[in-house]
Structures are given as C-alpha cells and as structure tokens.
C-alpha cells in the first residue's frame, strides 16, 4: 500500500517536469517467487539502480513454469523501456529443453550483473569425506548416486557437466526449486545437489557437505573447499544474472538503462551486499553481455543435446 502510494506520488511529481524517459514507474519482472536468490539480488540492486535512472523501478515477481511465465510476460510487453526483465541461464535451458518458446534472442541485453558460483554439495548421511571418494563410488556403481535437480534447468546442467567431465553416471530426481532441493539434501533423501554459498551456514553446521566449487580458484569464504579443476574435473559453472529489455526498445532508452546499470553494478557497496548471498558482481555492458549470452546459449544447446533433452 505504502509502496504504491509512493509510486503514485513519484509518478505524479515526475509527469509534468520530464517528458523524457523515465516519466513513469518501470516494471522489473523477476520470473521467480519472492525471497529466492534472483529476487533478493534484484531487490538489492533496484535501490541504487532507480536512483541513477531517475525514476521508480518496481520489482514484480511473476513466478511459474520454471521461470518461463515471467519471460513470456516480459517478451509480450511493449518495448518502451517501462518493462525490463531479470534473466538468468535458465532462459537458454528452458528454451532448448522445450519448456517454453522464449529465448534470449527475443530480448535486447542491457547488462550482466552477477554470477553465483555453483557448489557440488552432498547430503549429511552420505559416507564420502570428499569429492574424490564420491567420484570413486559413482564410478564403481554407475547410476546409483542420486542427484536432486530442477530438470532441464541450471541445477540439472551443472551436475551433468560434472558427470561428463568425470566420466561417471548419476541418477536424477526431480526437485523443483532451490528450497525443495535443499530440504531433500538435509534429510538425505538425495545424495548430491547443486547449491551455492548461501548455504554456508548449514555446511558449517554439518547439515550438508560442500564437496567442490565450480570456480577457477578457491573462494576466500570457504578456503577448505577445493575447486573441481584441482580435482581434474574441468568444469566452471555459475548462475549468471543480467538485465534485458524486450526487442525493439529505442536506443536512447537502452543507453540510459545501460548507464544506470553500469553505475549500480560497479558500486562497491553492491559488491559488499552481494557477498552475503555468495554472489560475485560480474558486470558486462550491453555489447559484452550480448557476446556472453551468445556463447552461453551455444554451451547450453550443446549440453541439452548431450543430456538427450534437446527438443529443437
């Protein structure tokens, strides 16, 4: 209530003074529920972002169908700069696995904001002391180590890359969404799952085991957790979050959005806040982000193909 009043007040105040963009609130569609990683990251980001933009930015959670419901809504919105979309890697995977018809090419990239490195995590009741023991076991008994994942999404693709690189075979069980996956891991109903640094508290308490992190170098927060690369598994993986606008958004508007994003993303205070969420700021401008998305898209297509999930 208070929010919408504030929006109204701002909208009224802005309207006569500036005819230029933005003269009314901008809707930032987050295709996942409130309180999830994406939501938390963008709600933090939005505060500085809207200040630099000189207008109000409202985060709208449009969850459902593996994040594709929000994607569809964003794609069908008028390309006037008043609707922007918080995208992550699942846009590629859900397209290639046939969950939705929306792909990144339906949008114009604004900027890449963050990267959250994935950690291969084991359940507390598993016998393995480290990643090596787990891999040895998985090699000895193919298809018995269970992995919980949102099928066709990032939490499925990451263990699948490990599977391929290490030459082992896992068994996948569908747990949609991070919360369900973490519950199953805590109760040892699955052996392995993808998690990230936000679960550090539970790992420290012995409620789950961080086996290996998919970064190039070890992270300062968890110096004892080896990288997959150290273990001879050539996998780097992170969930990358950026901003895009519907295709056809005017260049001057794109420029304004891009400039505001650059300022907000490179603000040291933002990096500090992101640390708490196990997330690294990884800023790329529109051009760099376009190249990034193109490359990421090809990687995801190849992965979907190798996993036998490719539907296009």
């Amino acid at each position: 209530m208070k929010n919408s009043l504030a929006i109204l007040a701002v909208a009224l105040a802005m309207a006569p003074a500036h005819a230029a963009y933005p003269d009314r609130p901008i809707k930032l569609i987050v295709p996942w529920g409130a309180g999830g990683d994406t939501d938390v990251i963008y709600r933090t980001f939005q505060q500085d972002f809207q200040k630099r933009l000189g207008g109000t930015v409202v985060v709208a959670n449009v969850g459902g169908a593996s994040g594709t419901k929000g994607a569809k809504e964003a794609k069908d919105s008028p390309p006037d700069g008043y609707t922007i979309f918080a995208v992550h890697d699942s846009i590629h995977s859900t397209y290639y696995t046939g969950v939705a018809d929306v792909n990144w090419t339906d949008f114009q990239p604004i900027c890449l904001v963050t990267a959250t490195p994935s950690i291969l995590t084991a359940a507390p009741k598993t016998p393995w002391k480290d990643a090596k023991a787990m891999l040895a076991d998985a090699k000895a008994k193919p298809g018995t180590v269970t992995v919980g994942a949102t099928l066709g999404s990032t939490s499925h693709f990451f263990p699948a890359m490990v599977e391929k690189a290490a030459g082992v075979k896992f068994k996948y069980v569908s747990y949609e969404g991070t919360a369900a996956r973490m519950n199953a891991l805590l109760g040892s109903h699955i052996d392995l799952a993808e998690s990230n640094l936000t679960q550090k508290g539970k790992a420290d308490a012995g409620q789950m085991k961080f086996l290996a992190i998919a970064t190039e170098k070890r992270m300062a927060e968890i110096p004892n957790v080896p990288t997959l690369k150290e273990l001879g598994i050539d996998v780097e993986y992170a969930v990358n979050r950026g901003l895009v606008a519907p295709k056809g958004t005017p260049p001057d508007v794109m420029a304004k959005l891009g400039a505001a994003c650059a300022g907000a993303a490179t603000n040291p205070a933002f990096a500090e806040q992101m640390k708490k969420h196990g997330t690294i700021v990884h800023y790329l401008d529109a051009k760099g982000y376009t190249a990034f998305l193109k490359k990421n898209d090809a990687v995801n297509k190849q992965l979907a193909k190798e996993l036998g999930l490719l539907k296009r």
Partner: protein
C-alpha cells in the same frame, strides 16, 4: 526457546506489529460473530490488505483473525442462539438457554474465558510440538510425504459429510483439477486444450475463495427472508455484567474437562483439514459422555459452553502446528495462511521454523497475544457487535462478495484468478446442491500436486514400489489410511439406523 519466544513477544508489542494484530483480531471477532460469515471468509477478505505489509505484520493480522474468529462466534451463539460461525454451533446448545434464563453475562463470559484458556493450552502444544515435529518432518522422504498426503485425503473424505462415496468423489474432483496445466516435473502441458489460461495450472486460493465464500454465500442468499428476525431477540434487555472471578472459578474448577476438550481441539486441529466445526461438536459430545449429569446438557449447563469454546480455540493452535511443521494446512483458514506465506516468499514446510525462526516465533507470539486482545475486544464491543449482526444479509452478502472478488484479483493483479473464482464458485454451489462435501475438493486441490510430485520423486530415486510399504513410517501411514476408511465405513453403517440431525455447513 523461551528466550526466543520472549524476544518475539516483545518484538510484537511494537506498534507496527501490534496494530495489525489488533485490527486482525477485531476483524476476526466481528466476522466470527456475523452469522453467515465464516472465519474462512474473514481471513480471505483480510488477506489482500496484508500484501503491502511485511511478512510478520501480515501473518500477525491473519493470526489475529483466526483467533478472534474462533471466539467471536460465541457472542452471537450465547446471546442470540445463532452460531456466528460453524465452529460455535455447540456453544448455542447450552449458551443460549443460559442466556434466556437471564444469565447472559455468565454465558458469554464462560465462553470468552474458556476460549482464552483453551487457546492458551493449544498454544503450549503449538510451541512445544512444532519444533520436534519439524525435525521429524525433515526425515520424511518422498515415500513418507506421499503416504501422509494419502492419509490426509482419506481421512477427510471419510470423516466429513454423510456419505463416504460422496467424500471420495469430491476429493477426486480436487485431484483432477491439479492435473490441469503443466506437469510438475518436465513442464509438459496437460489437458490445457491449447488455452493459455490453463497453462500455469489452477491456483488454489481463488478455488478456495470460490468454493468457500461464493458457493456458501449463494446458499445463504437462498435462505434470506426465511426464519425469524434477529431484532426480536435483541429487544430483550441483556445485562452482560458478571463477576469474572466467579466465571473463571467455574471453568478452572473443572480442570479435567478443560484439558480434555482442549486436547480434542488440538488433535482435530493437527489432523489435516478437519476444522473448528468438527472440534466443537466432538468436544461437546465428549463432555456430555463424561459428565455425571448428561441430562443437564442442552439446558444451560456451564460444561457445554466450556467444552465447545475451549475446543474451537485450542483447534487453532493445532492447525498452526500442521502448517508450520509439515506445510499442510490444518483447515481452510490455514490454507489461506499458507497462500499468504507463499505470497511473502516464505517456503512453509519442515525447514520453516529453523530458516525463518523470527517469523515462526512471531506467529507463536501473535497467537498468544491475540487471546487477551480477543477478550478485551469482546468486553468492549459485545454490545456494539449485537448491532452489527442485525445488518440485513441482503446488504451484507454483496459487500462480502465484492471483497472476495477484489481479493482474488489482488492475488495476481489479473482477471484470470477472478475467472477461476467464478468457475469454482459455480462448481461449489452445484456441489452443495447435490450434497457433495466441499472440504475433500479443496484438500485434493492443495495436495494433488504434492502427491504426484512425491510419487514421481520416490520412483525416480528407487524404482522399487514396495518401499512405500516397507519403509516403516510410510507403511504405517498407509495402514492408517486404510484404517481410517474402514472406520468411516463402520461409522456410516452404524449411523444408517438413526438419522442424524441437520448438520451445519462445514467450515472446511
């Protein structure tokens, strides 16, 4: 734990939490007192107003509605002989005769203090049991959850309504509704007929609003104009002044009765989907069976009021246990609260209490604080409430309906949820007409996805289907579902001989 609870209570005493709690409690008491407006409807109406609040503020308001509503019904039940909600039906049996004898104050305050004590006993269970039960729930794998949900469905289908077959039919309709939309694992569209509206599936809150508000009000609308008017009974001079010490003494001098009926209330609350409407009747029945003077029941005996009112408030505590530990709504009101949690981005389930400690204890604190607030609200407002309940239903129902539609719209800020409400309102109305119970339908809609998902997870983890029976907890739960169906069959056979008196509409 007690430190946490203390902190939560102190935290809640801040104006920003206390205000929504008080407003919620007032709304609950008034909604509970209004005949034809159930606690479920009240909570549905209050929900959209909490969207803009922070999660704890919103949940404090909802908890207030729940506690206030469970007590508010007694005002009309004792003073006018009309149950304000289905959960105060049994209160009329002895409350109204006592009031007619000229002891209106004693009848009402017996109810209020019993609600308070029953509620606090429920609170003790809530706070003591939720944590341990949540730990048990983490150990629940897909097999156990599947079997638990099956048990919930079979119990509701068996225990609610008069026909087992109709109960199962209603539950099956609910399950079919959950098949519409994308499948929960790979997102393949099912039975969507190419209609985009159906692709996301059917959300349960508008279904619930349609079935429990729209369908029920339509039934009540048909009855407008029949029966006596409230004004006549109001014309009698009512004195509500009473010695509170004496009334409290009357309740506490029957500690076993109070404990036993509160326990029944808690137990029925813990069991999924059987709400306060069953709790007060069962507690009354038990009190009568255990009493040395069963013949006095129905003539204005204090035991009857104590039993009914302690049970329906203790029931609230029990329902909150189930939703907080397992993420299964104990009744329609907690189903709305489950929706509220989701809207505020909080995942209910086994980890709720450990991951959202502050909010979990905030709910405990709100529950405890709501009870004295409720007593205060009734003390100050009972007379005023008697004026409100005489508002003609022809004016009241349209307002409630409009608020329900606005609430449904606010869920997603689009019309599709309103259409869902309309469709399920009509379906629910048709079901009321052919005497199909509504509770199993709602539980089917809520649990259908969960049953399917856990079945799939179990099989993906291990293809061996015998695990459902050989895992001890899962096997035990399945055995319990078979037993509950057998029990229902036996009970229905036994009752076939003697016809039951007219049952009130179920609150869930």
């Amino acid at each position: 734990m007690y430190g946490l609870l203390w902190d939560a209570i102190v935290n809640l005493l801040q104006l920003k939490y206390l205000l929504p709690l008080v407003i919620g409690t007032v709304a609950g008491v008034v909604g509970g007192a209004l005949p034809g407006v159930t606690i479920t409807m009240t909570v549905i109406i209050v929900l959209p107003f909490t969207f803009g609040l922070d999660p704890l503020q919103g949940l404090a308001a909802m908890t207030g509605v729940y506690v206030g509503g469970s007590a508010g019904g007694l005002v009309t039940a004792t003073l006018l002989g009309i149950p304000g909600t289905p959960s105060s039906v049994a209160t009329t049996f002895d409350g109204f005769p006592m009031a007619k004898r000229g002891e209106a104050g004693r009848a009402m305050w017996l109810g209020v203090w019993s609600s308070l004590f029953g509620g606090l006993i429920g609170g003790v269970v809530l706070i003591a049991a939720t944590g341990p039960l949540a730990e048990v729930a983490v150990a629940f794998g897909p097999w156990e959850f599947f079997s638990l949900f099956i048990l919930a469905l079979s119990m509701v289908a068996g225990l609610v309504g008069r026909s087992l077959l109709k109960g199962f039919l209603s539950g099956a309709i609910g399950l079919v509704v959950t098949v519409l939309g994308n499948d929960p694992v790979m997102g393949q569209p099912r039975l969507t007929l190419g209609i985009e509206f159906l692709e996301g599936g059917i959300p349960f809150l508008p279904v619930l609003i349609g079935v429990f508000a729209f369908a029920q009000i339509m039934g009540d609308v048909e009855r407008i104009g029949r029966g006596g008017t409230l004004h006549e009974s109001l014309d009698r001079a009512i004195t509500l002044s009473v010695s509170h010490l004496k009334v409290i003494g009357e309740i506490l001098s029957r500690p076993l009765l109070l404990l036993w009926t509160s326990f029944i209330g808690v137990l029925i609350g813990v069991l999924p989907a059987i709400g306060g409407s069953a709790a007060n009747m069962m507690a009354y029945d038990q009190a009568k069976k255990l009493s040395r003077h069963p013949e006095r029941f129905g003539t204005g005996t204090p035991e009857g009021i104590v039993a009914s009112e302690s049970a329906n408030n203790a029931n609230v505590g029990g329902s909150l246990v189930t939703i907080m530990a397992f993420g299964i709504p104990g009744d329609a009101v907690t189903a709305v609260m489950l929706g509220a949690l989701t809207i505020h981005g909080i995942q209910s389930g086994p980890l709720f209490i450990s991951q959202n400690t502050q909010i979990a204890y905030g709910i405990f604190a709100a529950y405890l604080l709501a009870h004295p607030i409720m007593a205060l609200v009734i003390a100050l407002g009972a007379r005023l409430m008697l004026r409100v309940v005489t508002v003609p239903k022809a004016a009241l129902f349209p307002v409630v309906l409009v608020l329900c539609v606005v609430g449904a719209y606010a869920l997603g800020n689009n019309m599709s949820t309103v259409y869902v409400l309309l469709i399920f309102g009509l379906l629910g109305y048709a079901m009321v007409k052919v005497e199909l119970p509504l509770a199993p339908l709602i539980l089917g809609v809520i649990l259908g996805d969960q049953i399917e998902t856990n079945l799939i997870r179990a099989i993906m983890t291990d293809a061996d289907l015998w695990l459902f029976l050989t895992r001890p907890i899962s096997g035990g739960l399945l055995a319990a579902s078979v037993a509950s169906v057998a029990f229902a069959l036996w009970q229905h056979r036994r009752q076939r001989g003697r016809e039951l008196p007219d049952e009130e509409a179920d609150d869930f």
